[in-house]
């Protein structure tokens, strides 16, 4: 019985991971570009009426002020998890941890920067 429960639990936890892994470029295109823009500069098609403008991912200065862990958390749990805007939603049900890690590296490529 406990084994069965464990298996069920494992199945529930891994439900996102069960999907084939997408490339960070495709995930960015699908979920990030709508607000952060096709150039990653924060000028997406959705921003017209926003009270807070989305982060410019090419801005090395502000992006180097955030650790990989902070970026991971913002993507997974949403803007409010790092005291930023509610307009950045949590993507935990959409992306696997692995895909989020890939996206963090993708962001580092866009900003051509590291933390610190």
């Amino acid at each position: 019985m406990p084994t069965k429960f464990f298996l069920l639990l494992l199945l529930a936890v891994s439900s996102v991971q069960a999907q084939a892994k997408e490339t960070p470029a495709d995930n960015y295109k699908a979920y990030c570009v709508q607000c952060h823009g096709s150039g990653g500069t924060g000028k997406g098609v959705n921003v017209r009426d926003m009270s807070v403008v989305p982060r410019d991912h090419t801005d090395a200065k502000s992006m180097s002020g955030r650790s990989d862990e902070t970026l991971f958390k913002a993507i997974k749990e949403g803007g409010t998890s790092i005291n930023k805007s509610i307009l950045m939603p949590p993507w935990s049900a959409t992306l696997s941890d692995e895909e989020i890690n890939d996206l963090v590296q993708y962001l580092r490529m866009l900003c051509k920067c590291k933390f610190g």
Partner: protein, 226 residues
Amino acid sequence: MKRVFIVALLGLSAATFAEGGMLQGNCSTCHNIKGPAAQTLNAAFEKKGPDLFYAGNKYRQEWLVSWLQKPDRIRPAGMYYGGHIKVGAKGDEIDTSTLMNHIALSKADATSVAAELMKMKPHDDLIAKEKIEPGTISMQMGEMAFNKFLGCMACHLIEPEYGGLSGPELYTAAKRLQPQYMASFIRAPQVWEPKSMMPNKNLSDANIQKMVRYLESLSKEAANAN
């Protein structure tokens, strides 16, 4: 056993074809009418219109009948916004030249297509899990939630000229959609469409109820304004 299965399948498709010729023909060019939902982003990027294979779990029949005769755009940037944007002076903007209009059907065709669509209910189980309790929500609170507490406006128009453009407009949502579907989709968008652009905001039951009620009031308000 295999033969029985094939015969059953043939019987089924013949029946569907006879009844839903238009669905099989015209509609299926742009809509997924058989399922399953797109399992990869590449498949999702290619979508030209919403999936219809669970239309009977999703739409209000009377709305289908009227919309199919006089279709107007529900998603300002098309089904997948990425295929319909261009870089403008202030950033990305919608490239309207790439958007296609939905064909209009006669009253008779709209009525029969809507009736066929309403039979397509593979997700009755998900719908049965939702119960919308009657109640009210102040329009002001609802608007605050859409704007400040939940951030729905980032991607959705919550008024004709206010909000984001990548998602479907919300101020007409309840006119189009069944309340239990709205609740179920808000609760877990990926259960309906694994590659949905709608994030799961982990709303509590109480908040889901409130949002559905607000969407219902919003649509009534929009209808009165027309």
